[in-house]
Amino acid sequence: MKKLAPLALGVMVGLYATAEFYIPDWHVRALTSELQSWAAVIAAFAYVLGGVNLIQVNYPKIKRRERDWGYKVVMVVSAIVMLIAGIKWHKAFTAAPGGMVATATGGLPGKARVVIDAPDDVMVKVGAASAAPARVAGKAFELDVDPGKVSVRVYRRIGGFDEFTTELELQAGQIATVKADPAMLWGTQGRVYVWLYDHVFAPCNATMFALLAFFVVSAAFRAFRMRNLEATLLLGSAIIVLLACAPIGGAISDDLLDLKQWILDIPNNAGRRAIMMGAAIGAITTSLRIILGLERSHMGAD
């Protein structure tokens, strides 16, 4: 039963996923949508398993002070910090409103006035006017507007903070004072998460990719050799495509651009298609083997 049930489930879902492609009925579409949402939930749950696995694999190595254990500490601590930063703590601990509006009379005749009482690093957007700092040289932002509806948005210059938006209904001679101090958010849109993303993850990620330029030039010098006819053809194509993929190619000759396009369209596409079709046939074969219960390695069996 332990083997039969998952096998039967795999066969049923596999057959359904194949058949639904050919059944244009809304009942089928609704069921498919439900199954696809399950797939998304399963994929999301893989992160939980990944987190548990990360600890299971690395903790014993750190405990035994195995080789490079220091890097593993950095990895585990980074994962825990990002997990903590990614939780929306502000929803659990703060319920304060983002801002408040008070109205009074005064101001220019025939006009209404919007006054923003907010810290220095806050930006304000009132109606269609351009965004402006909430406070310049200690003076609060003021704007005279036509009576009627006017939208007000108060936000911080940097991401990761709450924002206060409101729609005011103003009459002539009325002064509306909007008091707002957008609070710091937690979670994936919060300040800590965004700061770590911008100042740690993004530079590390970009650095790894940028190193490619140096590896490519080193590999081009050491490994790209005219050892035989095939390698020579590859090398010639590479030089043409490299030249034509930069504006200098067009500056040398338009024929070079045409030659590059020919290389991409004919030999490259022929090779790509062969690989894609081979991979697709392989995927169909494997899928059929799973659906028919012939392939069981995904269930932990041979």
């Binding site: 970009a206 330029a213 030039v217 651009l257």
Partner: protein
């Protein structure tokens, strides 16, 4: 005393062991110098880039397009210039925008991109060096909707094709019900978008959109990808499944030229010019040493 019994080392052998840090230095200079002293060679748009531009030009005010930002910070230099150019093109045409992602690394990056390029005007009247129509700041949930990220990779793409609202629980990322957003009226599946703009750095991305939903729902798509993925996606351009393809920084510079707003890709095009020449130099230099060394080895063998 040198060992006279061994043959003297040929100069090509010494060059084969050439310290590669000199090449790194040369590549570093090739990247930095053109940024300080621009060359400014003319940029000629290629057919794939022109096709992508024309696909967006055919849209009308009020049409709704989907932008899928499937990327991470590493691919920003190659993909952000295209994103900014295409957003400017869409905004000046008055096209409504829906933004999604299938990459978990993407949300903080795309939220910043939305703040900088969609929430704020990219080319307000009087922008220096720009002669096209000005754009304006788009209003959230009026002119654009940010749906956010959903895990599931290809499953998410498939589900969006079938049920876009269900995929995002019927809400925009800020919690606004999609039913309350007028521009989302009639947008229930991917086929309800006039165009899909795929800004794609790898898996899942443009390839998965083409394979899973393009043919099934007969979708109109254009894509931008990193230079290394271009050869992966050109077969789909050739078959017409992708109506346009903007591959790498060079093509992004071409797109900037077509849109009429010079940006970081145009500045980076000079880096490409010199950088590619350095790679070609490394290939040629390495092969010259190799061929001379091989000839010398044969001579020594014959002797």
């Amino acid at each position: 005393m040198p060992d006279r019994s061994l043959p003297a080392e040929h100069w090509t052998d010494r060059l084969q062991r050439f310290d590669r840090r000199w090449l790194f230095l040369l590549m570093g200079l090739a990247i930095v110098v053109p940024l300080i002293f621009p060359i400014g060679l003319p940029i000629k748009p290629t057919p794939m880039t022109k096709a992508a531009f024309n696909a967006v030009e055919e849209l009308h005010a009020g049409d709704v397009v989907l932008i899928s930002l499937d990327l991470d910070p590493a691919s920003t230099p190659e993909l952000e210039p295209y994103y900014r150019s295409v957003v400017l093109q869409l905004k000046r045409k008055g096209v409504k925008i829906v933004v999604v992602s299938t990459w978990y690394q993407s949300p903080p990056l795309m939220e910043r991109w939305i703040r900088e390029a969609i929430d704020a005007p990219l080319a307000p009247p009087g922008t220096e060096g720009y002669s096209g129509a000005p754009d304006r700041a788009y209003k959230k949930n009026v002119d654009y909707v940010y749906l956010g990220f959903r895990e599931g990779k290809e499953a998410t793409i498939l589900r969006m094709g079938n049920d876009l609202r269900g995929t995002f629980d019927g809400h925009a990322n800020d919690g606004t019900p999609l039913d309350q957003i007028p521009m989302m009226n009639g947008v229930k599946q991917l086929k309800d978008f006039k165009l899909l703009v795929l800004v794609s750095a790898g898996f899942p991305g443009a390839k998965e959109y083409v394979q899973n939903v393009q043919a099934r729902y007969d979708l109109h798509m254009v894509a931008s990808c990193t230079a290394v993925s271009t050869t992966d996606l050109t077969p789909y351009f050739q078959t017409g499944q992708l109506e346009g393809l903007v591959g790498g920084l060079a093509a992004a510079a071409e797109y900037e030229t077509l849109v009429g707003m010079r940006g970081t890709a145009t500045a980076g095009a000079d880096v490409l010019n010199v950088g590619h020449l350095v790679v070609i130099f490394a290939i040629v230099f390495g092969n010259v040493i190799y061929l001379i060394g091989r000839r010398n080895a044969r001579k020594r063998g014959a002797a």
